[in-house]
Subunit: 186 residues, 2 copies
Amino acid sequence: MRDAADTKRRLLAAATEEFAERGIAGARVDRIADAAGCNKAMLYKYFTNKDSLFDTVFGESVGKFVLEVPVDTDDLPGYAGKLFDRYEEQPETLRLAVWHRLERPDGKWVTEIVLANEIRLHDLQRAQDEGRLSKHYTPMELLVLIQSISTAWATTNSELGVRTTLSREQRRGLVVDAVRRLIAEQ
Amino acid sequence: MRDAADTKRRLLAAATEEFAERGIAGARVDRIADAAGCNKAMLYKYFTNKDSLFDTVFGESVGKFVLEVPVDTDDLPGYAGKLFDRYEEQPETLRLAVWHRLERPDGKWVTEIVLANEIRLHDLQRAQDEGRLSKHYTPMELLVLIQSISTAWATTNSELGVRTTLSREQRRGLVVDAVRRLIAEQ
DNA sequence: GTTTGTCAACCAACCAGTTAGTTGCTACCG
DNA sequence: CGGTAGCAACTAACTGGTTGGTTGACAAAC
């Protein structure tokens, strides 16, 4: 019954859900503890406070993400499609990232993101040097474009009435096709 | 000295800043009243509660936005550039929209958005019918793509270390060029 | 018996929303 | 013109409930 590691894991899972849903200011510490089936004191023992709990949750979320969706420099449209799939299946990742950007603008940079990004930039650069990838955009420009296009549907305000009229497969198709067009030679 | 309309305007201005900065859950009603230089009770007289104050702020922000940035179906890259400019110069608009999407997912639809969107879709459709615009993407797909590309830089998490390394003009150039590529024939 | 995990109860600060009372403007009356 | 009644604009202080964070007592494992 007594399992510190498991308690910690349950707290993290509950916190992930709560933060993804409501953000930092909207999240309630009591609700997280309740959902984890344990006491608030545990939360403050394992994570020093609300903000640092969020940071842990976000770091963990990003860590999983970069492991699970590696960039394929020889198939950027396919990469964009995989990003799209991941955001569709686990929207918490994206929501946490948006909350992070809005609510912790000067929070410590998550090293997982910085490192993963440097590797991606380097890989793209090499693909361009070796002639496997169009040089029309710089590696950084490519990353920004692919990122924004793969999250296009998720970040569109619902007023466009868009979510309902197109199937997931159609929306995915647009993402893949748009990236294909961007990196096409000429 | 006693000017109801002006008090209301000051409250709206203060609320816009506070909500854009901190979102709904993070905003403080006292802070808004203080910044507006008036009493909290005034806020509750003119706007019934915090949520409806946010709705008013957001509706007003969107209303101004759609008036100031009309779509030009014959120059979509230029339209994307204007969107980019507007988001650079008045980031509150975009921030409010993101807070809205995160914190009021089932709030009432802002009619300004719905209407403006219908008009845009219709205009794009006609441009395609008259052969002035590529039919590769549907009007709705075009809107979603243009929207996401023009906000690409603003919605990229700072971990990419991107904001500092490229000038505003360079970032704008990318947005315009990407849209140009997407709607190019062939 | 000592360390470690757990919890109920507690606290001070905070926060959205209310109320009872005051102030300044103005339209009407003499 | 001078006085004043009425009303909208405004305010200070309060309320009931919530929130992040703490603590001291107890229980289980070793």
